[in-house]
């Protein structure tokens, strides 16, 4: 969870990031959730390339994609771009 919040004397000036953006789970902003059908998916990775939040992961051992739902904001770009119609956006 979010660490103890710092005072104005402790944070760097000018809004410079001193923490990675992964400290901010943004998945709870989502209203629609992408669900992939592994039967239809041919692992072309277009969704991986297009996801603006880098929320699609690649597991090189399993040679398969996954979703980082803590960060996926549910924009639906992956579903739109998928050439196999393998991703469905479902209501949360």
């Amino acid at each position: 969870m979010t660490p103890k919040q710092k005072t104005w004397k402790e944070v760097p000036i000018g809004g410079v990031c001193w923490r990675p953006s992964t400290d901010y789970p943004t998945g709870d902003w989502r209203t629609l959730k992408p669900i992939r059908n592994p039967e239809k998916c041919n692992r072309c990775l277009l969704c991986f390339i297009f996801c603006p939040d880098a929320a699609i992961t690649w597991d090189s051992e399993a040679e398969d994609i996954g979703f980082a739902y803590d960060y996926c904001k549910g924009c639906g770009i992956c579903a739109h771009e998928c050439p196999k119609d393998a991703i469905e956006m479902i209501s949360e």
Partner: protein, 409 residues
């Protein structure tokens, strides 16, 4: 006295600014021309064309872009200058806040020009007064000599580690921007020694490690990202802290420059003129102070205890200094060259009253809105102001606290 040999040049205010920028070893200039700032940009582009400077000169398509470019260039660690005024400054409004919020030490010259409508290219302070809350240091100059001197000081003030705030230097449209004056200029090497290189402090970066506070591919940092209710307020508090440090930095830089050049402007914050034993005081900014000093001298010869307080630095606002300078006078006339419609007085008036609220004895304070759209402010009108101050001091009564002077009734 100055130990350094200086050269006297015939320069307009705009040319004096361009000459200072030429000498200050500026890395990037991004500007869009607007009357009466145009000559600053024209002269500087000539220096670039003639190979007299090693500056990246960017012709942008608007003032919004000019300041966006300046901010981002500054973020890479470059020394940056831009210039604007009036509608151009208004178009920069959004990026003024971004620049100060990113703590980018950009230096900008503003030729103070009225805002439309009706359209008018002449002097008043409406354009920069409305930006006084944007987190920039504001310095108003009295003449072209001071414009030259202040631009050089501005780089040091802006880039100082305790401030890291952008600085705007204001000069009056046409009265200064286009009027030829004898301006003493320092030799190039003296200027370079004075301004030095821009120092880049270390800052806590992504992994909590100290990295230089600039955009650098070898040490990447992220500047100015989304900052919500959890940290935005802390960053604003830091800007106020920098403003609180700024008066000391401004005075130190001013004093060091005074030792070098032999020229000083009060303490760099305010310039009291014959105020020590004054009963009556006018307060103003910019070139009107020059005319007012002549009127003060004239009144003094007639035995009237008149004085003037010129505000040189308007942000940060030198509250304590103003209070100390004015608390022994009987009546104060604040001259505002801009108006806050419906606010019952101009911005300078309100803030002078604020500065004197905590004085032991409060003088009477009245306001004169003058010179809008370049309306002349001759010595006769300034004299009228002192005459009414005499009446106020004598009767201990103020009839009209806020008046327009020089307008046809």
């Amino acid at each position: 006295m100055a130990k350094i040999k200086q050269e006297i040049r015939a320069l307009s205010g705009d040319e004096a600014v361009a000459y200072a920028v030429k000498q200050a070893d500026v890395d990037v200039v991004a500007a869009y021309p607007i009357t009466p700032q145009t000559i600053i940009v024209e002269r500087f582009s000539e220096y670039v064309h003639n190979g007299e400077v090693d500056t990246e000169f960017v012709c942008v398509e608007s003032e919004h872009s000019a300041l966006s470019m300046s901010l981002t260039a500054s973020a890479t660690g470059a020394r940056v200058f831009t210039a604007s005024g009036s509608a151009g400054l208004a178009l920069m409004h959004e990026i003024l806040y971004v620049t100060s919020g990113c703590r980018a030490p950009v230096v900008m010259a503003i030729t103070n020009r009225a805002l439309s409508a009706p359209i008018n290219i002449h002097c008043d302070h409406s354009d920069s007064m409305v930006e006084r809350d944007a987190g920039w240091i504001q310095i108003y100059v009295e003449n072209s000599q001071e414009a030259y001197d202040s631009i050089l000081q501005a780089f040091r003030i802006a880039e100082h580690q305790d401030t890291l705030l952008p600085v705007m230097v204001m000069l009056d449209a046409f009265v200064l921007s286009h009027t030829l004056e004898s301006v003493n200029v320092l030799p190039d090497n003296a200027v370079q020694r004075f301004v030095g290189m821009r120092n880049i402090p270390l800052i806590q970066g992504h992994q909590g490690k100290p990295v230089p506070f600039k955009l650098d591919p070898d040490n990447p940092i992220t500047m100015g990202p989304l900052d919500l209710y959890d940290y935005y307020f802390e960053h604003k508090r830091q800007q106020e802290e920098a403003m609180e440090m700024a008066p000391r930095v401004i005075s130190e830089v001013h004093d060091e420059y005074a030792r070098l050049s032999g020229r000083n402007y009060g303490d760099g914050l305010i310039e009291p003129y014959r105020l020590d034993d004054a009963d009556l005081a006018a307060v103003c900014l910019g070139s009107t102070a020059g005319t007012t000093k002549t009127v003060v001298d004239h009144l003094r010869k007639r035995g009237v205890k008149a004085g003037l307080l010129r505000l040189r630095t308007y942000r940060p606002y030198p509250t304590q200094e103003i209070r100390a300078a004015l608390q022994n006078v009987k009546a104060v006339a604040v001259m505002d060259r801009s108006h806050s419609f419906g606010a019952h007085g101009g911005p300078v008036f309100h803030e002078i009253r604020h500065a004197l609220y905590d004085a032991t004895i409060q003088p009477h304070i009245v306001n004169y809105i003058y010179g809008l759209g370049g309306r002349d402010m001759p010595p006769t009108l300034i004299q009228e102001i002192y005459t009414s101050l005499q009446r106020i001091a004598k009767t201990d009564q103020v009839e009209k606290p806020v008046q327009f002077i020089g307008v046809r009734e």
